[in-house]
Symmetry: C2
DNA sequence: CTGGATCCTCTGCGATACTG
DNA sequence: CAGTATCGCAGAGGATCCAG
């Protein structure tokens, strides 16, 4: 929140661009984190994947994190969850158009990381 | 004797693309977090900024976090820190070419966030 | 096979105070 | 002005077991 002095000086012309509610920050909040980009990227490459296939494809992820992240992404409207009522259970995940629209961005991130040889810390 | 492609295809009998050491993950490790994208974006817009100007431009950041993130970004070769030996102290931050090359990516993220109206949670 | 439920660790981040 | 130094928390993420 703003205090009184801030409000009082608010009309002073700002010399510099502000960054409040920056859309980039919003983007990072939604798509960021340790696993979400990888999940999306795998679904871009493979179109449709089952829970277990994602699990095996992502090195080091736990089942808890995977299901949690999948739920988040589903709520964001980025991926579809299709469950078949069979035994054993079968669930397929795929991207929505909204999710697919992330491809160029993720691809640019990939290229940048490769080009700039971000050495393992 | 086997050539490299043979070995590669032998090993890739997996049906699905793997995600180990995904460059996207590396990207997120380096550029991700709550403040780094905003700092970079401000420096793209304003070219050169002083510590205090960044502080005032980024709503809610603490001095501790700001100096920490700036240090990280400097180590990554993304920004330059130029210190003038005067009193009171004066330090200017600006992007390196490597940092400037992030502009299209951040811009794409911004556009995506706007287009997809990621409602405040 | 696809998760949910617990419990635990670790660290990113925040609040505040202090300094050359 | 441009930072450090401390303290502390909440939440991200990990390990393991259990269930439909």
């Amino acid at each position: 929140m703003m205090n009184k002095e801030d409000i009082a000086t608010k009309k002073n012309e700002k010399k510099y661009q502000q960054a409040n509610e920056c859309p980039i920050t919003i983007f990072m909040e939604k798509i960021g984190g340790k696993w979400k980009p990888v999940i999306i990227w795998l679904l871009i490459l493979n179109k449709v994947m089952r829970f277990n296939e994602l699990d095996k494809s992502i090195d080091g992820i736990s089942q808890k994190m995977l299901s949690q992240q999948l739920k988040d992404l589903e709520q964001l409207g980025i991926l579809n969850r299709k469950s078949y009522p069979v035994i054993p259970p079968k669930v397929e995940y795929s991207l929505t158009p909204k999710g697919q629209s992330l491809e160029p961005i993720l691809d640019a991130m990939k290229t940048w990381a490769n080009d700039n040889v971000l050495y393992s810390k």
